[in-house]
Each structure stands twice: as structure tokens, then as C-alpha cells.
Amino acid sequence: MSAEALTALWLSVRVAVVATAANAVIGIPLAYLLARRRFAGRGLLDLLVTLPLVLPPTVTGYYLIVLLGRRGWLGAPLYALTGWSVAFTWWAAVVAATVMAMPLIVRTARAAIESVNPAYEKAAFTLGRSEWRTALEVTLPLARKGLLAGLVLAFARALGEFGATLMLAGNIPGRTQTVPLAIYTAAQTGETGEALWLVVMLTALSGAVLVAANRLGGRAP
């Protein structure tokens, strides 16, 4: 086991944790909006969030470059203003993992929120709660099993992200080389021992996450 492999593992875990946190903050409110509100552009939003699930990751990664690259729609003004670009940094791996995992949290959380009986929300309204407070105190707690399941899926997906990360963040050892990229590199360069070790580690980690999620999910009422 090399130091580079350990670095890749540690990087993967950090990227997945931050991407999952970002998904909790962005994905759960999105899921709530899609589940409970009717607004113009709802179908388009749903489509945009879901697309990374069906597009090849390289296509999603390409879009991210177009959007966030040094000459991208958002990336160019940002670079002009700050001299910094997200591309080929650690943050690029986070962005790629977040976008790729978002369909999983949004779809799972949305289904969980839709399955909450609206009578509970109406009851909260008649007892004086605003929609915002009702979501926090009633809807989301009642959907927590589905939210948790969605977050776990998103974490596992972020941990295994490859294509979009390669496009936006590159494959820079110690900076953007996550475990899947390290495995690819090791296999390409004939370091089969290193590749095998990383494969086993990633499988064990992902498996442990799923087991933990099942335990947690099973205990929640």
C-alpha cells in the first residue's frame, strides 16, 4: 500500500462527505419543492436534476467545464474577478460528485416527501404553523427514513464518481486523484497490486456505508 493510495482514499472520503453535505442543503429543499409546490419551470428543473442519472458522466462533466471552466459561462467572470478557477482543484471533484449524486438524493427524498400524508401538514397549518415551519417540524421528520436513504445513496455515488470528476478536476495525484481515478491509473500502468488493494478498500467502504444505512433506517420509526 503506497502513500499515494492512502492520499487518494482520504481525498475520496473528504470529497464524498462535502458533496453529501452539499446535497443535503441543496437536494432536500429541491425535493420538497418538486414534491409539494406547483410552479412554472417545475418540469424543467426536474429534468435538469435528473439528467446526470442518464447522461454519460463525461457528458455531464463536459457541461460542467462549459459552465465552470476558466472560459466557462460562470467560470470566466469568476476568473476575471478573482484570478481563481474551480477547474482542476479539489473543489472541482466536490462539484462533480455533488452534481452526479444529486438525482439520487432528490428522487429518493421527493418520493419520501410525497408519501407523507398531506393531512399532517394541513393539521399543522390549522395549528398556526407556516409552510416553512411545517416542513421543518412535520414533513421532513416524517420523511426522515427516505431522506437518510437518499443521503446514503448520494454518499456512495459520490465516493465512486469517475467520469465527471476526470473531466472537470483532472487526475492530479494528491489533489484531485480520488480512488476511482487512482484505480484507473494503477490499472493502466500495470500496478495490479495497488489497483486490487484500492478496489477492495473502496468496495469495503461502500459496503460498510450501505450496512450502516440499513441499520439506521431500520431503527427509525
Binding site: N117, A119, Y120, K122, A123, A124, F125, T126, L127, G128, R129, S130, V138, P141, L142, P221
Partner: protein, 327 residues
């Protein structure tokens, strides 16, 4: 669901006025609402459910109010339980308590008993009546069950296709439905049609199936239709008298609205029997293959030996024929 038009005013406060563009959101209405199936928050304890509508009040006041509601509703010892750990009766009381705790101006109950099976339903109905009268809070209850409405309410409003067709004290509604439509919504049987012969403030004579019948007029709103006009009336199945043959013939003093009829069908409803009688008159019967539905207690059915004897003289007291004003 948004109302098309109308006004809702509670204690002088306008909650809805479509003409003036007023439509208060549920949070601002200050109405208690008991949902069908109760909608108790499954992730909160009884105490937290009861305290839910008290947000924004000082902690000590909240706790005192929850204790008071628990005591008044007989929920002692259940404060830390979750809704799924409660019996149906306890759930109903928590739902009522949750709606009543913030001291709303009015409580709305949306078919609170409709999801229950018969024995529990009866028990909870009595419970509900006791709590509502003890609390002295005005309540509006929606139900499809007339018996439930009659037992729990002092005033009953009958709706048909979204329109209020009668609003009356419960006894008036039961004994003097305002129209044929009300009688049908209430599930009254033997609603029949005849033609007026003579109407006075005291009684109405009319012709039906070749018979001249007389019914009492309504004491509160005497109804004076023109002779020859159509008239709707009903005869409650339990108010038709079968005349015993072993006690001499019918007696004009006691037996008014006398008719002869034959039992064409019967149905065993347990403690009562329903007989379907056809008058011994030419012409098609009024209700398919029969003219009158008659209910007799099982005991009477046996004493009169109805299975053996199918031909009867019947009489109906003039006060048991209810005349229905045309709408």
C-alpha cells in the same frame, strides 16, 4: 380547495369573502380542526401533539395548558405515549385536545367517526358528545350519518349537491323535513306522491292509490296546497299498524286511513322484520312491486303469525303521515 364564492364570518370576523377578495390562510383563521382519521403527528408524543398549537406562548403557560387539557380529557398517564400506542378512543381525545388547546373560536370536525367499525363508533360518538358539551365550544360536525348528526347536534343543516336544503333544530328536521329532497337525503322510506283533495291548517286530505287518506298538517308551518295539486308525503315503516283479526274488525274510532294489503316479500333484519305490502287495489304499485314498506318487531311478527297469513288490514294514524311541502 378554494370556494367559488361566498362568505364565512365567525364571531364577527370575516374569514372568507370572495366578493371583497378576503381569504384568510388556515394559520390566521383561529379554528380548531379535527381531521378524518385524526392526523395526529406520529413522530410526536401526546404532550407534544397537544402543545403543537401553543407555539409562541411562554413555556410555563404551554405546560400548564397541556396539563389542563390532559386532565380534562382523561388522558392522565399518556403524556409520553406516541399516537400509535393509543386506543381509538384515546386518539380521538388527543385530536380534540390538540384542536381545543389553543382555545379556537370554533371547532370543525370532519367525519370524525366515519373510519371506525360500528361498536367503537357508537362508543366514541357518546364520548365525543360528552367532551363537546363539557367544553362548551361551538362545534361544526360534518357527517353522512343522520343518527350521528341527530345525537351530537342541536341544529342540523342538510346539504344536497353542495346546497343547504334545510337548516333546523334537530327534532324539527327529523319530524318535519322541509321538502321531499330533504326526506330523500335523510334516507326516509315510503316517500310517496298523491293528489290533494282538501287542505286545512289542521289536516290535509289527499288521494293515493285509489284511497282517500288524511294526514296532520305541519304544526309549525301549515301548508295549504290547492286541491288537485300533487303532494309528496311519507309514512315511517314502523308506524303502519297491522290490525289483529282475533280482536274483531277494524274500529272507525281507532283505525283511520284503513286499507287492505297483501305481503309480497319480507326481509329478516334480525330483531325486526321488514314486510313489503301491496295494496289490494288495481293499478301498478307505488314502489316497484310493492306500495308500503312496514317494519314489525320480531315478537309481533311471530305473535301475528305473519308467515302463515299474508292478507292484512292496515291503518295509519293521521299524525304518522308526514306531508312534504314541494320545494
Amino acid at each position: 380547495m378554494r370556494p367559488d364564492r361566498g362568505r364565512v364570518v365567525v364571531n364577527g370576523r370575516t374569514l372568507l369573502d370572495t366578493a371583497a377578495g378576503v381569504d384568510l390562510p388556515p394559520q390566521a383563521r383561529r379554528l380548531g380542526y379535527v381531521f378524518q382519521g385524526y392526523a395526529l403527528f406520529p413522530h410526536l408524543s401526546v404532550a407534544d401533539n397537544l402543545a403543537f398549537g401553543l407555539r409562541g406562548r411562554p413555556r410555563t403557560e404551554r405546560q400548564a395548558r397541556v396539563r389542563e387539557v390532559i386532565a380534562r380529557l382523561g388522558l392522565g398517564g399518556l403524556a409520553d405515549r406516541y399516537p400509535r400506542e393509543l386506543s381509538g378512543g384515546q386518539q380521538q381525545r388527543v385530536a380534540l385536545g390538540r384542536a381545543l388547546a389553543p382555545d379556537p373560536e370554533l371547532v370543525l370536525l370532519d367525519e370524525p367517526l366515519s373510519a371506525l367499525d360500528a361498536p367503537l363508533r357508537r362508543q366514541l360518538r357518546d364520548d365525543l358528545g360528552a367532551i363537546l358539551s363539557d367544553w362548551g365550544k361551538t362545534a361544526v360536525l360534518v357527517t353522512h350519518d343522520l343518527a350521528e348528526a341527530y345525537q351530537l347536534a342541536s341544529t342540523v343543516v342538510v346539504y344536497d349537491n353542495g346546497r343547504a336544503i334545510q337548516s333546523a333544530p334537530r327534532t324539527e328536521l327529523l319530524w318535519q323535513p322541509a321538502s321531499e329532497a330533504v326526506a330523500r337525503v335523510m334516507g326516509i322510506r315510503n316517500i310517496l306522491r298523491g293528489s290533494v283533495v282538501k287542505a286545512t291548517a289542521d289536516g290535509i286530505q289527499f288521494r293515493w292509490r285509489g284511497q282517500l287518506l288524511e294526514g296532520a298538517n305541519s304544526p309549525t308551518r301549515s301548508y295549504l296546497p290547492e286541491p288537485g295539486s300533487a303532494l309528496a308525503f311519507y309514512i315511517r315503516p314502523e308506524y303502519v299498524r297491522l290490525i289483529r283479526k282475533d280482536r274483531g274488525g277494524p274500529d272507525a274510532q281507532h283505525h283511520t286511513n284503513l286499507m287492505s294489503a297483501t305481503v309480497v316479500r319480507e326481509a329478516d333484519a334480525g330483531t325486526v322484520w321488514t314486510l313489503y305490502l301491496r295494496l289490494d287495489e288495481p293499478g301498478p304499485p307505488a314502489q316497484g312491486d310493492y306500495d308500503l314498506e312496514v317494519e314489525v318487531p320480531k315478537l309481533v311478527y311471530e305473535i301475528l303469525e305473519i308467515p302463515r297469513d299474508r292478507s292484512w288490514q292496515i291503518s295509519i294514524h293521521r299524525g304518522s303521515i308526514q306531508v312534504l311541502p314541494s320545494a
